[in-house]
Each structure stands twice: as structure tokens, then as C-alpha cells.
């Protein structure tokens, strides 16, 4: 009974992640890749993502502290970050990435910083949600 309840809970949590736009189809692809050979594949990938992408965020932060801003470099970093985020299907995070790149192209430093804040927020929220989900 409890197990069923838990399963249902997990399913609901998972569904909400999709419904609320945190994750997209790529996540399902990852789930489909999971098998007996790699029973924790999705979790491993997500962990890897968070580890690697946090490094990129640090780079972006540092780049934003420079004066004048190197938009090209920022754009490159964000491109990298976006690529990573695409790998797990982090939908909202990806949207912020695109927004950030737009501001980069426009040379809008203010916009970049604002978007980055937003991005970090989404990034953190997703992380928490996924951690819960995996437990």
C-alpha cells in the first residue's frame, strides 16, 4: 500500500515537472535509455549536468564582472550552458539561456545580468525538484 502510494507520488512529481514546464521531451529520452545495465542512468546524467554546468555559471559570473563586458565570450559560455541544459531537457533553464543570448547580441549588459539571475533561480529550483524526485 505504501509502496503504491509512493509510486503514485513519484509519478505525480514527475508529471508535474513536465506540466510545469521544467522538463521537456529530452528527459523522457533519458528515461528510455535507462535500463538494467544502467539502472540509475537519469540520475547520473543529471548529477553530471549540475556538476559541469555550475562550472560554466562561475565562468559567466566572472565574465560579467569585467568591464567592459565581452559579449562574445558571454555568448559562447551561454551557448555551452545551453547545450548542456538541453541534454537533460531543462526547459525553463533553456529559455533563460536563449533570452540571455539575445541580450548578448544586443549588447545589453543589464539585460544579461537580469536574465542570469532568473536563470540561476530556475536552475536551482529544478535541481531541488529533481533531487526530491530521485529520492
Amino acid at each position: 500500500m505504501e509502496r503504491n502510494q509512493m509510486r503514485r507520488q513519484v509519478a505525480l512529481t514527475r508529471q508535474s515537472l513536465f506540466d510545469q514546464g521544467f522538463l521537456d521531451e529530452q528527459f523522457i529520452q533519458l528515461e528510455e535509455l535507462q535500463d538494467d545495465a544502467n539502472p540509475n542512468f537519469v540520475e547520473e546524467v543529471v548529477t553530471l549536468y549540475y556538476r559541469d554546468s555550475s562550472r560554466i555559471i562561475v565562468n559567466i559570473d566572472q565574465a560579467l564582472e569585467r568591464n567592459p563586458l565581452d559579449f562574445n565570450k558571454l555568448d559562447n559560455y551561454m551557448h555551452q550552458f545551453k547545450g548542456s541544459s538541453t541534454s537533460i531537457g531543462a526547459k525553463k533553464v533553456k529559455a533563460e539561456c536563449t533570452q540571455f543570448r539575445e541580450y548578448c547580441r544586443a549588447g545589453n549588459g543589464e539585460g544579461c545580468m537580469r536574465t542570469l539571475q532568473q536563470l540561476k533561480k530556475e536552475y536551482a529550483v529544478l535541481k531541488r525538484r529533481l533531487e526530491t524526485y530521485f529520492q
Binding site: 533519458l30 535509455l33 535500463d35 544502467n38 559541469d52 554546468s53 547545450g83 548542456s84 538541453t86 531537457g89
Partner: protein, 588 residues
């Protein structure tokens, strides 16, 4: 993995396809690895482009296909793509989050056989084997197309493919596909391999090619046929198919040279302006050849010839080893001077011969090899002595030339201009070449060269900026020139530049023998532009013209060119290149 025949692959093709994945993003690497494993492929992952290239070089024929990300920190994905295409001729698939048309186009131009958008779906990966298969089919078709046994062979190949799935290690491919391991520089070894039951690719060494050309000339170009050539050549281990495919390439080369000479005039300053174009231009040239090869069956032949030539080039490279050996003996110094002079940003060429140098350059390498062999054929046979003697001097020259090179290297314009000039010259000189089969007549060549040169003076002037490669001097040498052009044209655009270099070398060598001070004026005009596609317009500047006595120079040049080429390979590929090659081959 053994070279050529991969044991893991068997009847269940495409299962066991050996894929190399290159991506700086570890998350994607993990995902792709899992996805590919699910397709029953054999996966190797790589986080750095450099590592990927090393892996590929260590294990020639160790992989069937490469999947690479476009944006990587240590090397541009497109550059890696070019290298792989040139050196290993493997199908390469690009990936990126960015699906902008311009990027995709760039990928295609650089020779990517596909461009996938991230996130990648399983079904997309499942079908990547088609690119490998297609390439093999094209190769077989090209090799056998002129062969009377073609139908049999193709069907045999195909049935083999379906039967045992050993498509990739196909012997038929090896026999037709004259690409040889770059590592393998020794003709002897190659020949030994050829005679073994496991047919390795035929290495068309300088000597072999010379025999071939001699036979062709003896028979008469119009009446030539593979069987006759084979009989005349009297090479026991050579098969009719080998000769047939080689003949096809040769013919294509000559026809390309012809075309090239026609186009040359119009290209006058074209290259120069194109030079600034970075990747698009370079890649374009390259791509055209590559793409043609891959996608266009019709052109495949054309392309394939290029590949074959390339293969030849490779062979030549091996031969180069021989060449090197010869050269090195009399003048060890040459080599050493050459190597240090040539700054090879991309690769370190260990060999002294410029050829090797170019070879190391990666994509360019191929050409270099090719170049070397071709000119070698001509120049060597004719005036081996002179060549050797002169080797020393050219070295010095080369250095000069080479120093010029580095600055150019980063610029695209250095590209294949010389090839163009070579082509133009070839056309002018081809007659001479033909008449003087077997003997390098520097003088007559010179005259031709001059006239050719003059006619192209104007277009060339614009290109003078290019590397003052002594290759121009090579042009003077009809034989070598033609040889070079042939080599060049057949090769993919990338190789083209290299071949030019070789040609130049031979030209140079011949030139040296001529020791004609009149060459000096030519130098000005001939600017060698190593634009893969730009053969036409470039003038070869023969700065060292006055010092022809440096046979070593010739070899040096290729090194420069290679560097230049490597630096900016993105020259637009010009079909004219092929013409050059054709002519080169033709000249016997």
C-alpha cells in the same frame, strides 16, 4: 582493432559500427555513449578534439564514423572535421544546439555528411550507419566504374556486404582505394602488403606511377587500356583493377588540368579576394570535393578520383619515404633545415621532406604526400642527380620562402593559388611535357612556362601576395608541374594545395637544373596561393628563382605550403584543381 578489417563487425551490420564521439560536454558524452550503445554500436568517447585526432591517427581504420560537436574549446569542430576528412576520409557527423542555416551550411561545406541538432533523438543515431555504407558504395563504384569487371565487382561487393557485413574491411575497397596508411611510409612494406592475400590498398609509389605513365605513353594515350598497361608495366602483384582505377584517376586529372587552364584566366584575382574568407571559402573548396564525393554519385567518380589520388598521395607519401630516403642520403642537411623552417602550427612534421611535413599537417598532409610523389616521379626519373644536388640549396631557399609562409599561413589567401598557377602552367606546358616523356626538359618547359606565365601575368599579379613559394619554379618544370597538378587535382581540394607544393618542388628541381636566370621575372608574377580552390588565379612567386640551385627548396616548399594550408584550409575548393592533377598525371 586491426586495420582494415574489424573483427567485431560481422553479419549484423550495422551492429558493431565503430563510432568515435567527440564533445567537450561530459553530460552529452555520457548520453550519446548510452544512446549509441543502445544501437549496438561500439562507442569511444573523447572530450577533446586533439585526443580524438590522436586516437584516429593511432588506429587507422579503427573507426567507421566520427560524431563531433561543433563548439569545442580546443579546436573548432569544423577544423576537426576537415582533418578527419582529409586524413582518414571517414564520414563525420556534426552536432550542435545551434541549428542556424549558416552553421549547418558551414558544416556541409567542411565535409560533414550530416548535421544533427541537439537534443539528438535515438532514431537519428540509429541511421548513422547509412553514411558509412554510402561512402563505401561510392568508393567501390568509383574504383570499379571503369573496370570491365565492374558489374561483377560491385555486385560482389554488395553481396559480400549483405553476406558477411564485412563491408568496411573490404578488400575490394582496398585494392581500388589507393589510400594507404599515412604512417606507412615505406613502399616496400606496401608492396609486400599488396602481395599478401589480404589485399591492402595499392600504393602508387612514384616508381610505380612512372611505370604506369611510361606504359601509357608507349601504348598511346588514346589506345590505352588497363590490360595493356598492366602487361607493359610488368608488375606481378598489380592487378588489372588497380591499373584501371589508377588510369581513371589519371584521366580525370588530365581533364581537370585542361579545365583548370581554361578557368585560370578568369580567376585572376579571384583567389586573392577569396582569401580573406575564412572557413567558408576554405571549407567550401574542400567541401565541394568532399561533398561531391559523398553525395554525388555522378561526381563521385570525379571525387573519387580525387580520393584515389589522395590515396595515391598517400602512397606517394609512402613513396615519399623513399624519396626522402634518397634525398636525405645525399643531403641530410636539407631535411633538417626544412623541418625547422616550416612552422607547422597544427602538426609537427617529423620528416624532413616537406612532404612529410605537410603530411603531418593533417589535412594538408595528404596532399603533400601526393605532391611529393607525383613530382617525384617526373623529376626523379629525369634528373635524379640534379635533384639531389640541388636539394641542398633549395633548403636554404625554402627557409626564406618558408619564413614568408608563416605570416601567410594564418591567412586564408595562402591557399591554393599555386595550384592555379600550376594548372595554368600545366596547360601551357603540358604539350611540352608530353613531348618530353621521360626526360625532363627544363628548357622547353621554361619557355612554356614563360609563355604561360606571361599570359597569366595580370591575374597573377593580384595574387602575388601569396606565398612566394618556390613552387613556381616548379611550374617551370613541366614534368613536375604536371605531375603535381595531377596529383593535386585528383586529390580533394585540401590535398590539392599540397600537391601543388609537390609539383612545385619538382618544378623547382627541374628549374634548378635549368638554372635559368630568366626565371627571376617569373617569380614576381607567380604568387603561389594556396587556396584549395584557387588554383587558377595564383601566381607563383618564385622568390628563390634566382637561386634555383636548391633542390632542397622544392621539398621545402611543400612544407610551407602545407603549413599555410593547414593554417587556413578553408579555401574554396575549385574543381579546376582537378584539371591540374589530370595533366600532371598525363605527362609522362
Amino acid at each position: 582493432m586491426e586495420s582494415g578489417f574489424s573483427s567485431p563487425r560481422n553479419d549484423s551490420f550495422p551492429a558493431g559500427l565503430r563510432v568515435l564521439v567527440v564533445d567537450d560536454d561530459p553530460t552529452w558524452l555520457k548520453i550519446l555513449e548510452k544512446m549509441l550503445k543502445k544501437c549496438s554500436y561500439e562507442v569511444t568517447t573523447c572530450g577533446l578534439a586533439r585526443d580524438a585526432l590522436n586516437l584516429l591517427r593511432e588506429k587507422k581504420d579503427g573507426y567507421d564514423i566520427v560524431i563531433s560537436d561543433v563548439n569545442m574549446p580546443d579546436m573548432d569542430g569544423f577544423k576537426l572535421l576537415e582533418h578527419v576528412g582529409l586524413e582518414m576520409d571517414l564520414p563525420v557527423i556534426m552536432m550542435s544546439v545551434d541549428g542556424e542555416t549558416s552553421r549547418v551550411m558551414k558544416g556541409v561545406q567542411h565535409g560533414a555528411c550530416d548535421y544533427l541538432l541537439k537534443p539528438i533523438r535515438m532514431k537519428e543515431l540509429r541511421n548513422i550507419w547509412q553514411h558509412v555504407f554510402r561512402k563505401k558504395i561510392h568508393e567501390i563504384r568509383d574504383i570499379e566504374s571503369h573496370d570491365s569487371f565492374e558489374g561483377i565487382q560491385i555486385s560482389r561487393n554488395l553481396s559480400d556486404l549483405s553476406d558477411d557485413g564485412h563491408m568496411f574491411g573490404r578488400e575490394d575497397l582496398s585494392s581500388g582505394k589507393k589510400r594507404k596508411d599515412f604512417e606507412n611510409k615505406h613502399d616496400d612494406r606496401d608492396f609486400g602488403d599488396n602481395s599478401s592475400t589480404k589485399k591492402h590498398r595499392v600504393v602508387w609509389s612514384v616508381d610505380l606511377h612512372q611505370k604506369f605513365v611510361k606504359a601509357v605513353n608507349q601504348i598511346g594515350f588514346d589506345k590505352v587500356g588497363p590490360k595493356k598497361i598492366l602487361d607493359l608495366m610488368n608488375v606481378p602483384w598489380l592487378t588489372r583493377e588497380n591499373v584501371a582505377s589508377h588510369l581513371q584517376k589519371y584521366r580525370l586529372y588530365l581533364s581537370r588540368l585542361q579545365k583548370e587552364s581554361d578557368l585560370k584566366a578568369s580567376f585572376g584575382g579571384f583567389k586573392h579576394s577569396d582569401l580573406p574568407l575564412k572557413d567558408p571559402a576554405g571549407s567550401f573548396g574542400l567541401q565541394s570535393s568532399i561533398n561531391t564525393n559523398q553525395d554525388d554519385g555522378a561526381k563521385g567518380r570525379y571525387q573519387f578520383s580525387g580520393n584515389n589520388l589522395f590515396g595515391q598521395a598517400v602512397d606517394i607519401k609512402n613513396h615519399e619515404g623513399d624519396l626522402k630516403g634518397i634525398v636525405s642520403e645525399p643531403r641530410p642537411d636539407n631535411k633538417t633545415s626544412l623541418t625547422p623552417d616550416v612552422p607547422d602550427p597544427q602538426e609537427t612534421s617529423s620528416t624532413q621532406m616537406s612532404f612529410d611535413h605537410s603530411f603531418a599537417l593533417g589535412s594538408e598532409v595528404k596532399y603533400a604526400a601526393f605532391d611529393c610523389s607525383i613530382p617525384a616521379q617526373y623529376s626523379w626519373s629525369e634528373t635524379p642527380e640534379i635533384n639531389f644536388k640541388q636539394e641542398n640549396k633549395p633548403v636554404l631557399q625554402l627557409e626564406d620562402g618558408f619564413s614568408q609562409l608563416p605570416p601567410h599561413a594564418p591567412q586564408h589567401h595562402i591557399q591554393i593559388d599555386p595550384l592555379h598557377s600550376v594548372q595554368s602552367i600545366t596547360s601551357g606546358l603540358s604539350l611540352t611535357g608530353r613531348n618530353t616523356s621521360g626526360a625532363i626538359k627544363v628548357e622547353p618547359l621554361y619557355a612554356e612556362y614563360k609563355s604561360a606565365h606571361v599570359s597569366h601575368a595580370s591575374p597573377k599579379e593580384s595574387a602575388i601576395d601569396m606565398l612566394p613559394v618556390q613552387s613556381k619554379s616548379h611550374i617551370i618544370d613541366n614534368h613536375s608541374f604536371e605531375a603535381n597538378s595531377t596529383a593535386i587535382s585528383s586529390m580533394k581540394p585540401q590535398g590539392f594545395s599540397l600537391s601543388c607544393i609537390t609539383d612545385f618542388e619538382s618544378c623547382h628541381r627541374n628549374l634548378i637544373s635549368a638554372s635559368d636566370s630568366t626565371f627571376a621575372p617569373f617569380n614576381e608574377e607567380l604568387t603561389v596561393c594556396w587556396l584549395p580552390g584557387d588554383f587558377h588565379s595564383k601566381n607563383f612567386g618564385l622568390p628563390n628563382f634566382t637561386d634555383y640551385n636548391d633542390p632542397g627548396f622544392i621539398s621545402e616548399i611543400p612544407a610551407h605550403l602545407y603549413d599555410a594550408l593547414t593554417a587556413d584550409y578553408e579555401c574554396p575548393f575549385d574543381q579546376t584543381e582537378y584539371t591540374l592533377v589530370d595533366q600532371g598525371l598525363f605527362i609522362a
